[in-house]
Amino acid sequence: MATPQETGPDAPQETGARARHGAGARDALSATGVTVRDAGPGDAVAGVMPRWVALPESTEEVAALMRVSAGHDLAVVPAGGGTRLHWGTPPERCDLLIDTCCLNEILEHASGDLVVRVQAGVTMDALAEALAAQNQELALDVPLAGSTVGGTLATAAAGPRRLRYGTARDLLIGLTVVLADGTVARSGGKVVKNVAGYDLGKLFTGSYGTLGIITEAVFRLHPIPRARHWVTAVLPSAPPAALSAGPSTSPGAVAAALAASQAEPSAVELDWLAPAGTFTVSALVEGVAAESRAGAVRDLLAGAAEAVPDVTGGGEAPGWWGVTPGEDVLLELRVPPSGVDGALRAIAARGLPARVRGSLASAVLQIALPPESAGTEPTELAKLPEIPEIPQLAEVAEVAAFVSGLRGDVAPLGGRLTVLTAPPELARLVDLWGPVGALPLMRRVKERFDPDRRMSPGRMAGGI
């Protein structure tokens, strides 16, 4: 059996209390009747090796596991598809990994009510496929194949269409969770309109597994639009200083015009290789009349673009659409929309070859250092100067300076920068999450839900 001591330099020392309780824990877990196995090398969570992996199939089984964990003081980390389990801060300790892969049933698709109830381990792809059979969809773009409903909620992940449909929290109408002590709690329900009681669903979106385990979710759905058209244009590259003047061809100005446009695009995305590249902007228009509205978007973009914008129908998004711009160092920048140009200028001025991609009109952008070419189309961007190697340890300091410098640059614009993933060394040099005003309240919530700090301890902002 693997113990934390054997698994790497980051694993915490086993405490006396744990050793005491540890003895019968494995037996007690097995006694729940849930499939439990010893963890293997592939089960590490951000470098921390759990002792066991459990594969529950129902909310009740998760509750049984959590009751045992409470009794034996086991630290628990839930896993969905495991697509990005390694992102974020490593857990302080992890005894039991609860793999939700077998919570994989779509429990109820009430198509007439545009509502679906699913178990948390259902993958977003499987869900999309089932819903499409009834010509409906959950209007939440998921960046990574294999992501589960639970993982998507726990990380509050969202993609391009957040502009029109909002994010997970806006589409989630009911939730079932199991708390650290095994309590099963539900909130919300199966109706779209409902204000009875606190909305625990909101609390658990973005909770990174630190409050409890999501076992079921209910979402509101949308009809699949009859047509989708993308309009893509390349805006001239601009010297960083010119961006500050906000010319009508700047990404910020174009985004503002598109957001205000009566063509009502569902998404407006940017792809940019800073500091010298041109800006590729692409807008999605959805609906019965998508084609004529795409024409209006094209006209609007034509005034700002270098060449005639490209219109594609029939589901052909640009290759980079909704794809994370990189995986080694990935940051997320949020600013009020009017601050976009200023933020882009600040990124360019920092001098590193960053790739910036994301929701331009919603002003939620991902920054990858250094850029990877994966997922991009062979546009001008690919022809840009040599891309340096992945930063080695010596360069982590440079990345840290980029993060803290950019954080300082965007703060006056009302912006914030978080590190989604980075080499562990970076975490020693900068705070991955940045300042969070509501942190004391979040801590108080955590203390109430998980007083013994057994749920994914340390995985969220502020060491929560």
Binding site: R67, A70, G71, H72, A110, G112, D113, L114, A156, G166, R169, D181, G182, T183, A185, S187, G189, V191, V192, K193, N194, V195, A196, G197, Y198, D199, L200, G201, K202, L203, T205, G206, S207, H222, I224, A256, A260, Q262, E264, G287, V288, A289, R293, P336, P337, R416, T418, V436, G437, A438, L439, L441, M442, R444, V445, E447, R448, F449, P451, D452
Partner: protein, 484 residues
């Protein structure tokens, strides 16, 4: 007034501007209820603060004296959420009515909590923007109240509720800290959890709202049907066809008769039900949808269709619907406004059951509802002069909520739980569900001073001081969880 309140009032006068502390019994009485008038209590003290700092000072003083406080906006709430405490302080936001910032480039506005819902739209309308959630009470109700109730409106079918349009809140926590909850904060969505918490997690002092672009085209259709069943089928067919209207409202014959008596709205004679369908968005999109909705209505037996061409005609179509609550006063001496939700597909079943209840108890029920999202507003009519009628009406009203829960719906879609429905919460939620919600309450308000006695059926003590864990976990103590 008790000695404690006496002392507290003197303390409050020290931290608030002159005249902002009300202790005169006659003036206190004007605050004794909200829109749900049969629950009344004269507040111990009323304060009229002008800033977040003053509210924080008030809350800290309340903490010092262990006195509960209740926030109040315009008092239009329909669940008794703003019902004062005789032993407490009522914090009225009437002097916090400034629109602090309108930022069209960022499509947002920052306002004080006492600003009315409509005032935000009025401030930006000339630029082609508006604030989307539109409760019928929007001329009067405050944004602070909207946040507390997560208020909706006729157009929330397409555009969502208050929670979908608030980007940040400044709040005074129940222990008197000023904290900002931001939608962009990583971690728990505390902003989302605070919205709809009915004043039990603190007092909102500043609201950043999203401004929406006014749609290019708005088309409003009035369809008259012989029966409510036909209308209901039309609603299902519209949604089934993939159309998401901005609003779909329905009224039954009794509601139509009341509206006719009150405002002469001129709806088609002989209608068993009318449907108002509003479509908005890009002109090309609306044109398509309109043709589809028209066809569906006819296919489902609509005998008259009217289209409102401009704003005036649209107002005329909406007039009957908007006046419906008040209008039933014309046909009944007294009435209860109920608010429940059922899955849209259960509407025909539930309406038939309401009919049966109505017959069984000899109590008339006029039905007005946001049909698109299954939000019912049955108006339970009775004569308060008739012995026993009020009790029977109360029973019918309660049974309607049972129906909603039985069909997988909710006991409230927009009016909130308040004091009115806290006793129904156990019908929808288990003790474990409620205890878990209580954990949130205890995290924010361990002393239970912020609007106590609302939302939850049995006030529970938090028992523990946050950060320090002593004794047995409350869930264990109550026998709901075991610890090995």
């Amino acid at each position: 007034m008790t000695e404690t309140l006496d002392e507290l009032a003197r303390g409050l006068a020290g931290v608030l501007p002159p005249g902002a502390v009300i202790t005169d019994p006659v003036r206190l009485r004007t605050y004794e209820c909200d829109g749900l008038t049969h629950h009344r209590a004269v507040p111990g003290i009323v304060v009229l603060p002008e800033s977040a700092e003053q509210i924080a000072a008030v809350v800290r003083l309340c903490n010092e004296y262990g006195v509960p406080f209740v926030a109040r906006g315009a008092g239009t709430g329909l669940s008794g959420g703003a019902l004062p405490r005789a032993d407490g302080v009522l914090v009225v936001t009437a002097k916090m009515r400034r629109i602090l910032q309108v930022d069209l480039a960022d499509r947002r506005a920052v306002v004080e909590p006492g600003v009315t819902n409509l005032a935000i739209t009025e401030a930006v309308r000339e630029h082609g923007y508006y604030y989307a959630p539109d409760p019928s009470s929007q001329q009067v109700c405050t944004i602070g109240g909207n946040v507390a109730e997560n208020s909706g409106g006729a157009h929330c079918l397409k555009y969502g509720f208050t929670v979908n349009h608030v980007l940040a809140l400044e709040i005074v926590t129940p222990d008197g800290d000023i904290v900002t909850l931001d939608a962009d904060d990583p971690g728990y969505d505390l902003l989302g959890a605070f919205v709809g918490s009915e004043g039990t997690l603190g007092i909102t002092t500043k609201v950043t709202v999203r401004l929406s672009r006014a749609p290019e085209t708005v088309t409003t259709l009035l369809a008259a049907f012989g029966s409510i069943e036909q209308g209901g089928q039309a609603v299902s067919a519209i949604i089934g066809a993939g159309v998401v209207p901005a609003a779909i409202e329905m009224m039954d014959a009794l509601a139509i008769a009341a509206a006719e008596a009150a405002v002469a709205c001129g709806y088609p004679a002989g209608a068993g039900a009318v449907l108002i369908v509003e479509l908005d968005g890009p002109a090309a999109e609306v044109a398509h949808q309109f043709a589809e909705v028209e066809r569906i209505c006819r296919d489902n037996g609509a005998f008259e269709l009217r289209t409102a061409a401009g704003p005036q005609e649209r107002a005329a179509v909406w007039k009957g619907r908007r006046s419906a609550f008040a209008a039933v006063g014309r046909i009944s001496p007294a009435y209860i406004v109920q608010d429940g939700v059922v899955p849209r597909t259960a509407l025909p079943d539930v309406l038939a059951s309401i009919d049966r209840l109505s017959a069984e108890y000899g109590i008339r029920v006029a039905n007005v509802f946001h049909a698109g999202d299954g939000n019912l507003h049955p108006l339970v009519l009775f004569d308060d002069a008739e012995p026993g009628a009020e009790e029977r009406a109360g029973l019918v009203s309660g049974r309607i909520l049972d129906l909603c829960v039985e069909h997988g719906g909710s006991i409230t879609g927009e009016h909130g739980v308040g004091v009115d429905k806290s006793r129904y919460m156990p019908k929808m939620f288990t003790d474990d569900d409620l205890d878990t919600m209580q954990l949130v309450r205890c995290a924010f308000d361990p002393r239970g001073l912020s609007n106590p006695g609302k939302v939850f059926p049995t006030p529970r003590l938090c028992g523990e001081v946050p950060g320090v864990r002593r004794g047995v976990h409350p869930l264990v103590e109550s026998g709901r969880a075991e610890q090995f």
